[in-house]
């Protein structure tokens, strides 16, 4: 009989072998199947070695205890050849294991599951290639040292581990969708990678509503990709976008995924709630038709479920749109002392927008200028400085 421990150890070995080998040989077509193939070869090696050892013992006249260790290759395959999807799932959970830093999880996931080269990862995250390579080496070592089992977590552990996986996928998506640094506003390839991973995960774990929620969120956000870039590569904000350029196929896919998330009953999770918000925008034919009261209510629910200063800031925007800029400003002002938002450019830019709507242009200009100093994205900075300049014009018109 083959014990599970041995199978696990072999799979673990295969992962390490994969981590070592793939950088040189490139990602195989089916990483999951390849991994299990490797595990199988290792097992056969091990069994042969054990057999030789037994023969030696025999020669030496020792009594044999492990005769039942004779396992044919076919029997072994039956044990180790799970569903191919299972290997992939194990790989996702291992690459996104909480013992790793977020950066390491992202790099490992893109490398192993997204099929990106270290050079591509380096370019996407604006770090040097050796830094990415080192991140991957360290991650590999950390997994090894922590004896992380190569498996899909079960029971209570699953929820926490799944949220780590979803976080990594969404981080990758966001890095593509709203590049935090550099001159390119969008890096669509990262969005595509994240979307594909999300779609695969949804097929592998069809009963997890938040997986569908995340897929819905990404599909709907990705539907706006074309409309988010202006003619000169400048960013176009949601409410100014030409909705005719939104990708209706992705919107439909997003709405279908949201429906799947909702069909489980119970309240919506944080990703599904954000998807529901995105769906509100997607369903409005013009910006003026946006159901801001519903969006405000969804943000209230999100703030209750997953409170964070950033959610609170978005809630303020929604309340400002639904119930007037004064209502929004009240919520924003409660955030100005929030230390985690001290260098967050959206706080002053949202505050500036609300102040401008209340015709408090001098205060608004200061906020836009402050936001411009905080952003690392050159295109975003231009947009903010332009708004600051508009405040000057508006304010002289008033006086």
């Amino acid at each position: 009989m083959l014990d599970v421990g041995l199978a696990e150890e072999l799979a673990q070995d295969a992962l390490v072998a994969a981590l070592e080998q793939w950088p040189e040989s490139g990602i195989p077509d089916k990483p999951g199947a390849w991994l299990m193939g490797t595990a199988k070869h290792r097992a056969i090696d091990l069994l042969r070695r054990r057999k030789r050892l037994e023969l030696k013992y025999e020669e030496m006249g020792h009594e044999l205890l492990g005769v039942e260790h004779e396992i044919s290759e076919r029997e072994f395959e039956a044990v180790i050849d799970d569903d191919v999807g299972d290997d992939l799932l194990r790989l996702i959970f291992t690459a996104c294991h909480p013992v790793l830093s977020t950066e390491a999880r992202v790099a490992l996931t893109l490398r192993l599951l997204g099929g990106l080269t270290t050079e591509e990862i380096a370019r996407a995250f604006l770090v040097s290639e050796p830094a990415v390579a080192q991140r991957i080496v360290r991650a590999k070592r950390a997994l090894h040292e922590a004896h992380v089992p190569f498996e899909v977590p079960q029971g209570a552990e699953l929820a926490a581990r799944l949220s780590s996986v979803l976080e990594v996928i969404y981080l990758i998506f966001n890095e593509g969708y709203a590049a935090t640094a550099g001159d390119d506003w969008l890096r669509p390839a990262l969005c595509e990678d994240a979307l594909r991973l999300g779609r695969i995960l949804a097929e592998l774990t069809p009963t997890e509503p938040e997986v569908h929620g995340l897929v819905a969120l990404m599909e709907i956000q990705a539907s706006r990709t074309r409309a988010r870039i202006g003619r000169t590569g400048n960013p176009v904000l949601l409410l100014d976008q030409d909705r005719g350029r939104w990708d209706q196929l992705l919107i439909r896919r997003g709405l279908a995924a949201l429906e799947r998330a909702e069909q489980f009953g119970g309240g919506l999770g944080p990703y599904a709630l954000q998807a529901a918000i995105a769906a509100c925008h997607a369903g409005a034919r013009t910006a003026a038709e946006t159901d801001w009261a519903r969006i405000a209510a969804l943000y209230d629910a999100l703030a209750h479920l997953a409170p964070s200063p950033v959610v609170e800031l978005n809630r303020a925007v929604a309340h400002g749109m639904a119930f007037g800029p004064a209502a929004g400003l009240e919520l924003v002002d409660a955030l100005t002392a929030e230390p985690s938002l001290a260098t967050y450019q959206y706080l002053p830019s949202v505050r500036g927008d609300l102040l401008a709507k209340l015709a408090r242009f001098d205060e608004a200009r200061v906020e836009f200028e402050r936001a411009a100093t905080l952003t690392l994205n050159a295109r975003q900075r231009d947009l903010l400085l332009e708004r600051a300049a508009q405040c000057d014009v508006s304010s002289t018109r008033l006086t």
């Binding site: 370019r123 050796p130 390119d184 979307l195 779609r199 196929l249 050159a378």
Partner: protein, 141 residues
Amino acid sequence: MRFMILIKASKESEAGVLPSEQLLTEMGQFNEELVKAGVMLAGEGLQPSSKGARVKFAGAKRTVVDGPFAETKELIAGFWLWQVKSMDEALAWVKRIPNPTGEQGEVEIRQVFEADDFGANLTPEARRREERLRSQAAAGR
């Protein structure tokens, strides 16, 4: 990147012959694989051209021509929209499209324009940064 996969029509598809159960089953499995691999965005089969029409444009004139149309091999009987990493991956999937009867056919693969196909979105700043990264990499940093 996205590709549109165009399945060309055959004498049977134009005659409105429904696919055999075997083909339906194999196609179903293939579609499932596509979905599981996160490749499939959309896909539909098309009715024969006898149920279609063409509109010819000439200046301000519009002329409607009802199907069927003669040039069977140029007609389209179905399509997929796929999201893949490369043309190679698209080709690999296309080669696996089931064809249980072994009949002759043709499938055309066309890349879809994407937002980043505007080409030179590498601004001088971005190019400089990339050069900087390269030199850091060369310095073994």
